[in-house]
C-alpha cells in the first residue's frame, strides 16, 4: 500500500507477535498483532488491537489517533512479513464488530488492485448453516476474510 507506515516494528523470534506504536494527537498507543493457529493448521487467525498494560489485547478500542491509514498500511506489511516466515499458509481475519469488518472491507476495496498483485483475497459469506469462501468483490458485505500470498512462478 502506498500509504505511509510505521517503520519500527518489533517481532517475537517465532514471527507470531508483532508490536508497533501509533503516534498521534492522542499520544503513543502500543499496537500488537498476533497470529494464532486455528483448528486448521493451514490457517492462522490475525488478531490486532491495543496492548493494554497487562499485555492483553483490546480490539474494541477506538483511538481516533488520526493515523488509520498508516496503521492499516503497517498491518499489511506485517501480513507480508508473516507470509515470508510462513509461506503457503492462509490468514483469516474479521472485525471485532460488524462496523469494523466493514471498515476492513472498505480498506481492501480502496486498495484492491494493489493488494491483488500480492495476495489472493477471499470473503466469507453465510449460506444456510455453512460459510462459503468466494473471491473478494467490491460492494459485498462479508463475515470475514481469508488471504494467502500469491506464489511467484519464475518459469518463463
Amino acid at each position: 500500500m502506498q500509504y505511509e507506515k510505521y517503520e519500527n516494528v518489533e517481532v517475537s523470534p517465532d514471527f507470531i507477535e508483532y508490536e508497533f506504536t501509533s503516534i498521534g494527537p492522542k499520544g503513543e498507543i502500543p499496537k500488537i498483532i498476533q497470529f494464532n493457529t486455528t483448528n486448521n493448521p493451514e490457517i492462522f487467525n490475525l488478531a490486532f488491537g491495543n496492548k493494554k498494560e497487562d499485555g492483553s489485547l483490546d480490539d474494541f478500542a477506538k483511538d481516533d489517533n488520526k493515523d488509520r491509514n498508516k496503521i492499516l498500511a503497517t498491518v499489511v506489511s506485517v501480513i507480508d512479513l508473516f507470509f515470508s516466515a510462513y509461506p503457503g499458509k492462509w490468514i483469516f481475519f474479521s472485525g471485532s464488530t460488524i462496523e469494523r469488518t466493514r471498515l476492513y472491507r472498505m480498506a481492501i476495496t480502496i486498495n484492491l488492485s494493489e493488494l491483488s498483485a500480492d495476495f489472493q483475497i477471499f470473503g466469507l459469506l453465510q449460506d444456510m448453516e455453512a460459510f462459503v469462501k468466494v473471491p473478494f468483490e467490491k460492494g459485498v458485505d462479508y463475515f470475514g476474510f481469508l488471504v494467502r500470498k500469491k506464489s511467484i512462478n519464475f518459469t518463463e
Binding site: E7, V9, S12, E42, D59, D80, L124, A130
Partner: protein
C-alpha cells in the same frame, strides 16, 4: 534462514524489523480465535490441512 528471509523482506517493505520481542506465549484474544474457528469449521469447502 527464516530470520534472514523475513528481515530481507522487511527491508524491501521499508520496515525496520527488530527480532527478539518477548512472546506473550499465550493467545491474547481467545474469544476472537474461538469466533474464527466457529466460522472456519463451517466452511463448505474446507481448506486442505
Amino acid at each position: 534462514m527464516k530470520n534472514k528471509d523475513v528481515i530481507k523482506k522487511a527491508e524491501s517493505l521499508g520496515v525496520k524489523l527488530k527480532v527478539g520481542k518477548t512472546s506473550s506465549g499465550k493467545v491474547l484474544f481467545p474469544k476472537k480465535l474461538e469466533a474464527a474457528n466457529k466460522m472456519l469449521d463451517k466452511l463448505r469447502i474446507p481448506i486442505p490441512a
